[in-house]
């Protein structure tokens, strides 16, 4: 087990664009960190650089306290679980898992024991003599994880391991991975584009966009205090509502904002928060909106209602604009509304976010 430290990592492929710029990260020993971001943001590349499958164009990688830049992948103490599992088709499960030890020349008994142990943890002992061809997707994935476990790495690396599984299996494997982390206590770095996986699995999340680290923090931290518009809209579903707003007044801890022709809202803002002039962006998550009388909040007209069973999402067109905002209410709370009805929404106190003209968050909480 070891910590991982990245200093100023840059990566450019040949003559192509810069894929990673100035990535600095400190991952603590035993942490489960998730790299998340849209396709092409560089998260897989970053993972592969830590693994040693790619070379960083600039910057240093420290695994434990060792500078790892020039150390070949097998000797870094990392083990990788590939997206497509990359199991050797012609070997049995047991041989797949024991391959690295066999290459290192360990005695047969030791290999057998290590493989057995890993198989027990993952509950695949009955599959040890099968070949990958005979396994289902979920089983193959466990074998891939087992192969990593056998190597007793300091750091586990997961490259979108659940993306090839169906939805139900994904949920199940998520839980198992969580438990695995608890059991082994190893440092794990996990790459995914799915924000639900990020929120549920990670001790901390690293949000990447276009090769740059947008924000690092615990899931709830990122959820409640997004550092910029990108992080704000990336986490949470439906996405956070973003509305252009202007300050109209401030009294103590309360800030009044006007949203176009739709009305005014009052939000909590710390007294010492520095609110810049000009146009701001007000961010309110759908689940933090409540219905009210149109005069008391933002006015709108109901556009579409989605009933999901556990919640109801009401999409309304904001008065004076064609912008649609979403409000998520618990249970079957239609309140008798139908498309075309007038509606008013306002945010719960202390839940709103404010962003400046550059998309950066203004600290108001």
């Amino acid at each position: 087990m070891a910590s991982v430290r990245l200093n100023g990592i840059d990566k450019t492929f040949g003559d192509g664009p810069k894929v990673l710029t100035g990535v600095n990260l400190e991952i603590k020993d035993g942490e489960f960190v998730v790299f998340v971001g849209p396709s092409g943001c560089g998260k897989s590349t970053l993972l592969r650089i830590i693994a040693g499958l790619e070379e960083a164009t600039a910057g240093e990688i420290y695994i434990g306290d060792e500078l790892a830049n020039d150390i070949p992948p097998a000797k870094r103490g990392t083990a990788m679980v590939f997206q497509s599992y990359a199991l050797y088709p012609h070997m049995t499960v047991a041989e797949n898992m024991g391959f690295s030890l066999k290459l290192a020349g360990r005695p047969k008994a030791e290999i057998k024991q290590a493989v057995q142990r890993a198989a027990e943890i993952l509950q695949i002992t009955q599959l040890l003599e099968r070949t990958p061809r005979q396994l289902s997707g979920g089983q193959r994935q466990r074998v891939a994880i087992g192969r990593a476990i056998v190597r007793k790495p300091k750091v586990f690396l997961f490259d979108e391991p659940l993306s090839n599984l169906d939805a139900a299996l994904r949920v199940q494997m998520r839980i198992e991975l969580s438990k695995l982390h608890d059991e082994l206590g190893s440092t794990m770095i996990y790459v995914t584009h799915d924000q639900v996986e990020a929120m549920t699995l990670g001790d901390r999340i690293v949000v990447l966009n276009g090769g740059i680290v947008e924000q690092v923090g615990s899931p709830l931290d990122l959820y409640d205090h997004p550092a910029n518009l990108f992080v704000a809209t990336f986490l949470g579903s439906p996405k956070m509502n973003l509305l252009k707003a202007q300050t109209t007044g401030r009294k103590g801890n309360e800030l009044t904002l006007r949203v176009g022709d739709a009305g005014q809202v009052g939000i909590n803002a710390k007294g010492d928060a520095a609110i810049p002039d000009g146009e701001l962006t007000l961010g309110m998550r759908p689940e933090h909106l409540v219905l009210c009388k149109p005069e008391e909040g933002l006015r709108g007209k109901v556009d579409l209602i989605e009933e999901l069973g556990d919640s109801t999402v009401i999409y309304s067109e904001l008065a004076g604009t064609s912008q649609i905002i979403a409000a998520k209410l618990q249970g079957h709370q239609r309140n008798g509304l139908r498309a075309g009805d007038p509606i008013g929404v306002k945010p719960l106190p202390g839940t709103s976010n404010l962003f400046d003209g550059n998309g950066k968050a203004i600290t108001i909480k």
Binding site: G52, L53, E54, E55
Partner: protein, 278 residues
């Protein structure tokens, strides 16, 4: 993939392979060089390494030895073109059938076709001679391109390509539009087969152009010889006119090299794509 540091072993391998590649190409180089040299220069030791000035001389000598040189060249072209054209048509037709239809004995028929690839050509040497004699096609060029008008390899490649590149729904849509089966092949499928036709065409053309055994068995009149066969007749144990021979060989090889240079990537890719499924 991550670039590895260049170890001594890797550098040595690069060098060896480079030398090997030169070794592969060297004989051609010498062939071209000799084609431009006088007999005396060629017979010199060490032999010439650079081009000379005797091209015209060798050309005259070649014409002397092979008075029907252009006929030979022309026949090679003609046989190759006709055979290639027919192969492209018939193989794509058969490949289309195997890829898009289900019919009884389909598996068995295909197995039979594949197994013919394993029949050694020489087994047919004598029988071909006899059959051609009886049919009255001995000493004609029809005897060269007719048996080769459909080939197992061609059907195999076409079937692979069609089943992966042509969606079945397209066929069904065409059928619903009222196309006859052949029309479906001709108007819908064939236009989509460009790359595969290119690869197969190249392979067939090369095979037909280089065919030596076939003409050896079937052709008897000297004027009708294809180029490879004609070249061979210039071999004389006592006094082979090397310059002229090399010039003739260059003529036999050059069209293919040019073809190859322009299409090597496509050819190798096409072959490899087909071979993977096999």
């Amino acid at each position: 993939m991550r670039t590895r540091k260049y170890s001594a072993g890797v550098i040595a391998a690069y060098v060896l392979i480079g030398i090997g590649a030169l070794m592969m190409v060297a004989p051609f180089y010498f062939m071209f060089v000799f084609a431009t040299r006088r007999q005396g220069e060629i017979l010199d030791m060490p032999p010439p390494m650079m081009f000379g000035w005797a091209l015209e001389q060798n050309w005259n000598l070649l014409q002397q030895r092979l008075p029907h040189f252009w006929a030979h060249f022309g026949y090679s072209v003609y046989v190759a073109v006709v055979q290639t054209g027919l192969q492209l048509f018939f193989c794509s037709l058969a490949g289309f059938a195997f890829a898009m239809y289900t019919f009884r004995f389909k598996k068995q028929l295909f197995a039979v076709i594949l197994s013919t690839m394993l029949i050694p050509p020489f087994l047919g040497m004598i029988p071909t001679f006899l059959v051609m004699k009886w049919v009255g096609l001995l000493d004609t060029h029809v005897a060269l391109w007719l048996p080769g008008a459909v080939g197992a390899l061609g059907i195999f490649l076409m079937r692979q390509y069609i089943s992966s590149a042509v969606p079945k729904e397209l066929i069904e849509a065409a059928r619903a539009d009222g196309c006859s089966e052949f029309r479906i092949y001709w108007n819908v499928v064939l236009p989509l087969l460009g790359p595969a036709l290119g690869t197969l065409g190249l392979i067939t053309f090369i095979g037909s152009w280089n065919n030596f055994l076939g003409p050896l068995i079937v052709l008897q009149t000297h004027e009708k010889f294809t180029l490879p066969l004609a070249l061979r007749t210039m071999q004389d144990p006592q006094n082979t006119p090397w310059g002229a021979v090399m010039l003739g060989a260059s003529a036999a090889v050059l069209p293919l090299i040019i073809l190859f240079v322009f299409s090597s990537r496509r050819l190798i890719a096409g072959l490899t794509a087909g071979a993977i499924k096999g």
